[in-house]
Subunit: 217 residues, 2 copies
DNA sequence: ACCTGAACACCGTTCAAGT
DNA sequence: ACCTGAACACCGTTCAAGT
């Protein structure tokens, strides 16, 4: 048998180099700056060459999602179910807070990186260990996940990464510059909103949610 | 004094007709189909004419946000603080569930339609009436709002309106078609996830969250 | 005063052709 | 086998010119 000869042009691009280039674009200028054409420019190739390695922008994003999921590493976790739940969500929250654009991809099309499955399994198991039925535990996981998504998205969009709006019509105002005359309760909270935006209350608010979920049994 | 004469061409477009046309595009083909050029086509005008009435796409979206906010109408509400909180969030949830794209606009740039302020005031007041300090009440409102955002976004994106992904790389799978061999707890929940997606659990899950928040005091 | 046309600087994607 | 060029059907936005 003859040894297999390599034929044709040697590849210059690979899905790994493509994904890496995409990640530096995202890290530099945000997810909205990632385009197939700009990616190609960064790789020094034609836009169309990228399509040999990735079927489209969709697939590229999911590839990036999978790479992000692989970086979530499970450290040592508390044995106590309640504390374990917090620890698990904290891992995901911290991982996603670093790459908040992932949330947008993750949320589409009920897709799941298998790299995420151990997390769901562990969470649901911890809820069961805390006394919920499997069904209730699954439901509890979904609620907490939705809360996490909401927190990450609001945090991302109102943060410095958030898309700034250039034109705001006269009808709309910033929450900070509101006429609180007719709103007695909100008037007492001037200065509270900017402060609330600074502190990250994910963990303590998650505690309230989880305790509510465990209490309903 | 001479009576003011109208001068120049009579306007054919107005921000009202523009907003209305934009809304029918969104209702027909979704928010991602809304472009200045398509809007102009629908109005029978040149793309550039729209810019006489609206400073850009940003401003158009915020205009639509304000129009949506105006449609949220406060009906009669329970006097009991806890029930009142549920009622208020239900109004917002129902209103936004009909126009889920609003969430994306709302979440950007901590903007607030004054038409939304009565809602925030009422919510915070109800939390205070339920025994929280104004600060705690403000924080509680923020958590519940984030939960609502998460619920609406996940619901929108995984619903039939959700952007379908054409290409999925081999590494990724649908949650429904998972090898549950190595995940004993998840294996027990086959069939649970699709069912969970069908039922809208917003209200009952909000109850768990609110009770958790009230319990922490 | 209001609207148009042409132009600039972009998109994602396909397909025939080149090396 | 891999990559390029040209092309198609789009974007948001600006600015000089027309009615």
């Amino acid at each position: 048998m003859m040894s297999r000869q390599k034929t044709g042009r040697p590849p210059r691009l690979s899905s790994d180099t493509i994904a890496a280039a995409a990640e530096t674009i995202i890290d530099t200028d945000g997810i909205e700056a990632l385009s197939m054409r700009r990616l190609a420019r960064a790789l020094g190739s034609s836009p169309t060459a990228v399509y040999r390695h990735v079927r489209g922008k969709d697939e590229l994003l999911l590839l990036l999602l999978d790479r992000a999921a692989r970086e979530l590493r499970k450290g040592p976790l508390p044995r106590d179910p309640r504390k374990r739940i917090f620890g698990l969500f904290q891992i995901v929250y911290d991982g996603l807070a670093m790459r908040p654009w992932v949330v947008g991809v993750l949320v589409k099309g009920d897709l799941i990186a298998p790299s995420f499955l151990w997390f769901i399994e562990e969470i649901v198991a911890a809820f069961v260990a805390a006394g919920l039925s499997p069904q209730r535990a699954g439901a509890a996981y979904l609620v907490a996940w939705r809360y996490t998504v909401g927190h990450l998205i609001v945090r991302y969009e109102t943060g410095q990464n958030g898309a700034k709006l250039k034109h705001t019509p006269g009808v709309l105002r910033q929450l900070s510059s509101i006429d609180t005359q007719q709103f007695p309760i909100l008037a007492e909270l001037t200065g509270f909103w900017p402060a609330a935006r600074k502190r990250d209350t994910y963990r303590e608010d998650l505690a309230a949610l989880i305790d509510g979920l465990l209490a309903r049994g």
